[in-house]
């Protein structure tokens, strides 16, 4: 009886795992490469940069954004937790890096992007 429950547990965990992987693959497949990166500070647009050429932007002394080869990432930040710095680079439309302590958001924009809400 107990073994049967454990077998079901395993099936349940495996099923959820597969669903998550499928969602990840699906998310990548529908994501399109973006053209520009939109930087906002506390909701207000601070700058919009093209993604195709290398650039470095100091966002109001809060953090430093870098772009290259269609990707954008936060190079450094003054905040304590450094989550945005560890965040992987973003390149697909709709992907974003959020730096909560300083209210900075970096979002990839472009044409025909998936703006999906589940």
């Amino acid at each position: 009886m107990k073994n049967k429950l454990l077998k079901n547990d395993f099936a349940l965990i495996a099923a959820i795992f597969v669903i998550a992987l499928a969602a990840a693959v699906f998310g990548r497949a529908i994501g399109r490469a973006g053209d520009t990166v939109e930087v906002r500070v506390k909701g207000e647009v601070y700058a919009i940069l093209p993604l195709d050429k290398p650039a470095e932007l100091d966002i109001g002394g809060l953090c430093v954004l870098k772009t290259e080869n269609g990707e954008a990432w936060i190079e450094s930040a003054v905040c304590k937790n450094q989550i945005c710095v560890k965040h992987r680079s973003v390149s697909r439309v709709g992907e974003a890096i959020v730096c909560l302590p300083s209210g900075v958001t970096v979002k990839i924009t472009g044409e025909g992007g998936a703006d999906i809400v589940i």
């Binding site: 547990d9 965990i13 990840a24």
Partner: protein, 173 residues
């Protein structure tokens, strides 16, 4: 535990004790800097050990009460208001899932807790997406589901160990 008739006072004392334990676990969790991993929102969900054990050993209503009080207490001591909303959304979804899966009697606490962990993160992220209007958070769902799943499975393992020691039979309804 259900076999013996317990007095109201005994029950109140037990629930108070479990709530305190639950809150203690929340605090321990608060001390572990999981956000240092670079993935915000990743937690062990230790307090859920207590809630799930109560769900099996005492009952649905009581476990729900412990859960709710724990969330409000954690919010008062070290949370923010948005954190409270995320917690409530995640816990509501995960608790509903736990109750349903437990009722099906097809899974042990390990499966129940694993699914609850995944559901908690889905609920939390859904609340975050609605509140911040950041649909980009969608990319984050798979990671959170998988982390919740494994953290939940570990907690479920602890729950079944506790239940067998306390002498609660979970094999059927």
């Amino acid at each position: 535990m259900k076999k013996e008739k317990t007095s109201a006072a005994e029950k109140i004392a037990l629930l108070g004790l479990l709530t305190a334990l639950c809150f203690g676990l929340s605090y321990i969790e608060f001390l572990i800097p999981f956000s240092a991993l670079g993935i915000p929102g990743i937690k062990l969900g230790l307090a859920n050990i207590c809630v799930t054990a109560a769900l099996y050993a005492i009952g649905t209503k009581e476990a729900a009460a412990i859960n709710l009080i724990r969330i409000i207490l954690s919010w008062l001591i070290f949370g923010s208001f948005t954190g409270l909303i995320y917690s409530l959304a995640g816990s509501a979804l995960s608790f509903a899932g736990s109750v349903a899966l437990k009722k099906s009697a097809r899974f042990s606490p390990i499966g129940v807790s694993a699914a609850a962990g995944a559901l908690h993160n889905i609920g939390q992220l859904a609340a975050a997406m609605i509140l911040t209007d950041a649909s980009a958070l969608m990319y984050y769902i798979p990671v959170l589901i998988i982390c919740g799943l494994f953290a939940g499975a570990i907690n479920g393992f602890i729950v079944s160990a506790i239940l067998s020691r306390v002498g609660v039979n979970y094999k059927g309804e």
